[in-house]
Amino acid sequence: MAPGDGKTVALFATCINDTMFPSTPKAVVQVLERLGCKVVFPKSQSCCGQMLTNTGYYDEAIPSVRNYVKTFDEYDYIVGPSGSCIGAVRHQHPMIARHAKDEGLETATEDIVQRTYDFSEFLVDVLGVEDVGAYFPHRVTFHPTCHSMRIAKVGDKPQRLLRAVRGITLLELPQADQCCGFGGTFSVKNPDVSVAMGTDKARNAASTGAEYLVAGDNACLMHIGGILNRGNTGVQRIHLAEILANTEEGATL
């Protein structure tokens, strides 16, 4: 029996992945189905609202929170490939519900956060797998991303999944726990500091000699990748899910 047998997973693609990085949620679908899960994509989903909340627009974030609850309330497992968006759901949705002075919504958010998982957590904690049958014969360095570490608190689960990938060469990223400087609207409200931080992260990534910089958050990768690309470093960005989707038979999707 496959680890995911009998489990229906609602995929929360996240707005940025849906729009800008569809290969990541596609990879999630592939890995979860390979492990026996039934994956559904409720199309009424939109965004976790983090960008609104973190910029101080609480009132404007309320509809996103309501929409999340309405979209996903019927599912036991809600899985998204972003420590940041998942962290926002778990850490901020109840706060926004309180701000809306809607007790029903508050209870609903507190309940749904128990069923909301980052992709890496779902694999390791719920399905109990670290080796997902992936194959990726490349030099890779891993950036843990702040919100995965400190808000979603995924711990070393991404590294455990990466270590089980066949053919991979994992290179240690210097100063890995330092923020890359993305920070949502921080990246455009304080562009100079953001770029200074991102440049250090990009330099550290390039210094490892890796072909790929991997992380569990495409937003951070978009920022660091933008600097890596401008600097012609030759380091590619890649989401964790895309490495895990790759097998010796090649990607099936």
């Binding site: 101080g56 990246s187 562009p191 100079d192």
Partner: protein, 507 residues
């Protein structure tokens, strides 16, 4: 010792002054954070100094935390003890006042900076002296006491080495624990050679930039001031409510000099600096040094409980300072910042602080704690105060190290909300950003609205199929802010939801 007199010439701004003139720029007049950081980011020397210093101190703190088996339990206890104080501040202040008064201390209350300064000036004047020696104190920096004393004809001498470097350098502090963190040894040597002789014992002319030699120059310069001073001024790390004791932690011994040698001691202490009992010190006096300097214990801790006959100052004053703290207390979310014990761990781990230093924060409290405390103490009406809550990438490194568990990131977001609400109240007609976020909020309320908006990104993706990245976009605002130094990926021609729908159809 040879003295190079040619270097000891007062600057024009100091001609009629008792102490070196501070920079003329006022904190509140400073530009918003994103503008203020430009010169700092461009200063390679400053960035090297800061990186070296913050990296060193971060490593030490982490090592000292790891040595303590019950560190997390101790943080929780500190959080709870400080919450108890903050939530019942009136109770503990009255108790502390009663105990201090019984021990021979004169207790004063000051609503704001001006009132605190007036109290200190009046006491000092009554002692018929024209100078005071000072221990590094955040409260008196907050009230700008030195300038109030200068105006009253009293010279205030900073005696902490870093504060001395700042004062002699006509500079502003850039860190709450190591105020001259932005200076390196050769800059310190230049400042000492240029300035010490103008205000007392000069630095030896053949002094090198070796830190022990520089520290010795400070010892020589300050010794005469300590021995002759009649009034000392301090802050206070803690006031113990149940005994009326004051506590000061320090490293150099300058604090002990100021607390012990003068006949009169005036301590200006924020009203939130209380701990309920003497026993509670076991928690704070272990957390504080390990969190701040990364040492197991700071070299000197002084605890005094009123006047001791024949030992130390015989005239003791404590000024309990509000200056905005009760405003902070009013906000159930923001009040958690009042637990702060001024250790500086948050700024030492902060990646933003590491790159810009303390000056751009426009307050005596830089770094993450400043970004939440300053706009609470001063309100959010000025451009600098409105920008401070946004001066963070919300990486959360500060939350992990704070010894009293202040949820700094959460309060940053809370303060961002307050700024947005303040602006809404000020200007009913939405600005560009508000229109944008209102639109975003509408779009993100429903999946089909997001799908509709994706038409634009898909069109771009189709039009520029072969381009992977977009380079600089010279449209002022967010587009240019992003693309000036970062490429942006070309959006794909097919979104995930379209791909999913296609896949479902073919099943």
């Amino acid at each position: 010792m040879t003295i190079d007199q040619s270097r000891s010439t007062r600057r024009e701004v100091d001609r009629n002054r008792l102490t070196p003139a501070p920079p003329t720029e006022s904190y509140l007049g400073m530009p918003a954070f994103p503008k203020g950081v430009k010169s700092e980011l461009g200063n390679q020397q400053l960035r090297r100094n800061l990186r070296h210093a913050t990296t060193t101190i971060r490593g030490k703190r982490a090592m000292r935390q790891a040595e303590v088996h019950n560190w997390q339990e101790m943080r929780t206890a500190a959080e709870q003890i400080k919450n108890r104080v903050g939530r019942h501040l009136d109770h503990y202040l009255i108790q502390a006042e009663e105990k201090m008064t019984a021990a021979g201390i004169t207790v004063h209350w000051a609503r704001d900076a001006e009132e605190a300064n007036r109290i200190v000036v009046d006491i000092t004047k009554s002692k018929n002296t024209d100078e005071v020696v000072k221990i590094k104190s955040m409260a008196t920096q907050e009230t700008d006491l030195n300038e109030a004393l200068e105006e009253a004809g009293i010279a205030a001498w900073e005696t902490d080495l870093a504060e001395l470097i700042v004062q002699m350098g006509h500079d502003k502090p850039s860190h709450i624990l190591v105020p001259a963190i932005h200076r390196n040894r050769s800059e310190v040597r230049e400042i000492f050679l240029d300035e010490m002789g103008n205000w007392g014992a000069p630095a030896p002319a053949d002094i090198s930039d070796d830190p022990p030699e520089l520290a010795n120059a400070a010892r020589l310069h300050l010794r005469e001031k300590f021995l002759r001073a009649e009034v000392g001024i301090s802050g206070g790390n803690f006031i113990v409510a149940d005994t009326g004791s004051l506590v000061i932690v320090e490293s150099e011994g300058n604090g002990r000099m100021c607390l012990t040698l003068p006949e009169t001691l005036i301590s200006v202490v924020g009203i939130e600096k209380l701990v309920p009992t003497f026993d509670d010190l076991e928690v704070f006096l272990r957390l504080l040094p390990r969190s701040s300097t990364g040492e197991r214990m700071n070299p000197y801790t002084s605890i005094w409980t009123g006047v001791t006959e024949g030992d130390g100052p015989q005239d003791l004053h404590v000024v309990l300072l509000d200056n905005g703290r009760t405003k902070v207390l009013e906000d159930p979310v923001g009040r958690e910042a009042l637990r702060c014990i001024r250790c500086s761990a948050c700024m030492n781990v902060c990646p933003v602080y590491e790159r810009v230093g303390g000056h751009a924060y426009g307050s005596v409290y830089p770094g993450p704690i400043g970004s939440i405390l300053t706009p609470q103490l001063r309100g959010v009406s000025s451009p600098i105060d409105q920008s401070l809550p946004f001066a963070s990438s919300l990486c959360g490194a500060c939350d992990e190290v704070c010894p009293v568990k202040i949820p700094i990131s959460d309060i940053l977001v809370h303060m961002r909300h307050k700024v947005v609400e303040y602006k809404k109240g000020k200007r009913p007609i939405p600005t560009g950003e508000r229109v944008l976020f209102k639109g975003l909020g509408w779009m993100m309320a429903k999946g089909n609205r997001l799908a509709g908006a994706q038409t634009f990104t898909k069109t771009a993706g189709k039009l520029f199929k072969r381009k992977q990245y977009i380079g600089p976009i010279p449209i002022p605002g967010y587009a240019a802010n992003w693309t000036n130094a970062r490429d942006i990926p070309m959006p794909p021609a097919q979104t995930f939801r379209d791909w999913w729908a296609e896949r479902e159809d073919t099943k």
